[in-house]
């Protein structure tokens, strides 16, 4: 992943910065959504923030959407605790409505490693979110952790597979990941290749049949001030 710049001056020097990474449709190159990340030394999902800080960051994202890209979809990571918290959808809904954006513009992501620590709780949480058709993505599926079993247990809407895990995987694991993509397609689940940094990786993602992709090759993480100019794809 390339350097992620400080993106939100209001966080101030030395504080975490907010950024948006484009998620692109491989079929036509359109920007479909962005992932909101917080950057300290390295980008992380802002689910790492808790309590009031989480609400603050989410409010910032919602405000940016309202001002600069109404209709845009933004994915963000949540912790397992946040996912299991029954108040999560109402909290997100309230913040979105306060900012004047469509609540379902927010797409939840849960790290696969976290989800696997409590599969039944995660499943229940996802089912609860699905009652109002919130989108849930399983992030960072790990080639070393029986991804097919995870996919069979968790009724997610999309899966993310990091290209780095593809590079590092041995032949068997690579076949597992290929099977994940094929299984996801069979289940009607969207697939996102992440961490795409060069053309060979992009070609591999297209060859493997991923629906969407994100990563440095699609441009550096968008500073909030540039979101308007980039936010012209069909979903934005």
């Amino acid at each position: 992943m390339t350097t992620h710049r400080s993106l939100h001056p209001s966080f101030g020097p030395g504080r975490p910065a907010l950024g948006f990474e484009p998620i692109v449709t491989l079929a036509d190159g359109d920007v479909r959504a962005h992932e909101a990340v917080i950057t300290t030394d390295a980008p992380v999902g802002f689910g790492v923030t808790r309590g009031g800080a989480f609400e603050y960051v989410l409010g910032k994202v919602a405000a940016h959407l309202a001002r600069q890209a109404p209709g845009a979809a933004v994915a963000f990571n949540v912790t397992l605790d946040q996912l299991l918290d029954e108040r999560l959808p109402s909290l997100v809904g309230e913040i979105a409505e306060r900012a004047g954006v469509e609540p379902h513009a927010f797409l939840f992501e849960i790290d696969a490693t976290l989800a696997e620590t409590d599969p039944s709780g995660t499943r229940s949480a996802i089912e609860r979110l699905h009652e109002d058709a919130w989108s849930v993505t399983l992030d960072r599926i790990d080639a070393a952790r029986s991804p097919l079993r995870t996919l069979a247990v968790l009724p997610v809407d999309m899966v993310k597979i990091d290209q780095n895990t593809v590079h590092d995987a041995d032949r068997d694991r690579l076949e597992d990941l290929t099977a994940v993509v094929a299984t996801a397609r069979w289940l009607g689940i969207g697939t996102i290749a992440t961490g795409i940094s060069d053309l060979p990786e992009l070609a591999a993602a297209i060859a493997h049949g991923y629906d969407l992709a994100q990563g440095p090759i699609f441009g550096e993480q968008l500073p909030t001030s540039r979101l308007r100019g980039e936010a012209t794809g069909p979903a934005l």
Partner: protein, 352 residues
């Protein structure tokens, strides 16, 4: 809006308009003003995006042909026709007149009382590449194009001012008259057969007839009649052109029909119509008020013809999540399948 139909332009409507390489404008058919114009359209009339839109269409139409230009739009506004194509003289912001070729299509059939206008300056140079599927400007209709509507008894309900150029008569004088009385007695059978074919096939039918002129002579004209969809009253729109001395009438009509159909294609290509939802009012179907906004969005996408995989992709959901939501919708509305659901909602639209 009336008829149990409401218009909910999606948030990406403007974005789609402004992405198009074609010069496209939307006209509000209620008060005849520009709703929106993309940069290419603004450039055509000598404006830039920062400039305010002209307050009325009178500022755009050349005074000499303003009446005819407005009359054609009024016929469109009355749902008498769905589309027309014509060459008009427009005025730039600095007052300079210029000829433009207009493709005009009502968006009524998708629930919006507005017209989409594609403008191509008629400067003899194709501004866009035909290979890419966007329109050329080298289509010279050569004369006036009268548009109007008739009911199933062939009574003329409305007619644009261009009829004066074709038949020499005031449009007001032909309103209420039947087309059978307007055409030569020997051509009545042709007319009836053509209209019958259009009604039976729900498709446009073209015919060659002689129409009575203001001085009681007859002029050869070509008529294209089209059933009007999306309205409650049964009627047909017609497009009348004078026969061209230079070109065969059949070729003229074929051109006209082809280009009328191409408007629909261009609307789709431009992506402008995509996302405009024609949906029943919430109080017209029992149970609709119980649907969540998310379920309502899925239902309206279904009504627009999107399939479950398309909806899933658009909403970042798995297909099973969408199907589960549809299952909940079925329970709330008391239906058991997608076809029953669509029949129920479309039934309400048609009844409206």
């Amino acid at each position: 809006m009336s008829d149990g139909v409401s218009v909910r332009p999606p948030t990406d409507l403007r974005a789609a308009l402004h992405r198009s390489p074609l010069a496209i404008a939307l006209i509000d058919l209620d008060d005849m003003r520009l709703l929106e114009a993309n940069a290419a359209a603004l450039r055509t009339i000598g404006l830039v995006p920062e400039d305010p839109l002209p307050g009325t269409l009178d500022e755009i139409f050349d005074p000499e042909t303003r009446a005819a230009s407005k009359a054609a739009l009024e016929v469109l506004a009355a749902d008498a026709i769905m589309a027309f194509e014509s060459r008009r003289t427009l005025r730039s912001a600095d007052g300079t007149p210029f000829d433009a070729h207009l493709w005009v299509r009502s968006l009524r059939s998708i629930g919006l009382h507005a017209a989409l206008v594609i403008v191509a300056p008629y400067d003899g140079v194709d501004p866009v590449d035909l290979e890419s599927g966007v329109p050329a400007t080298r289509l010279d209709l050569g004369g006036a194009v009268a548009v109007g509507s008739i009911d199933l008894e062939l009574r003329i309900l409305s007619c644009s001012a261009d009829i004066a150029e074709i038949l020499g008569c005031d449009p007001e004088t032909v309103i209420g008259e039947t087309l059978t009385a307007r055409v030569h007695p020997d051509d009545v059978a042709t007319l009836l057969l053509g209209v019958g074919r259009a009604v039976a096939d729900e498709h446009g039918a073209a015919m060659h007839v002689r129409a009575r002129t203001a001085d009681d002579g007859y002029a050869g004209v070509r008529l294209v009649v089209n059933p009007i969809r999306g309205t409650t009253a049964a009627r047909l729109g017609f497009v009348m052109t004078a026969e061209s001395a230079e070109r065969g009438g059949d070729a003229r009509i074929a051109d006209l029909e082809r280009h009328l159909w191409r408007i629909a294609l261009e609307v789709e290509t431009a992506g402008v119509a995509h996302g405009v939802q024609r949906v029943p009012d919430a109080d017209t179907v029992s149970g609709i008020e119980e649907l969540s906004p998310r379920q309502w969005e899925i239902v309206t996408r279904l009504l627009r013809g999107e399939r479950v995989p398309d909806i899933a992709r658009a909403l970042f959901l798995s297909q099973s999540t969408v199907r589960n939501q549809l299952g909940a919708v079925y329970r709330k509305l008391g239906v058991h399948s997608q076809s029953e659901l669509l029949a129920l909602l479309r039934g309400r639209l048609d009844a409206g």
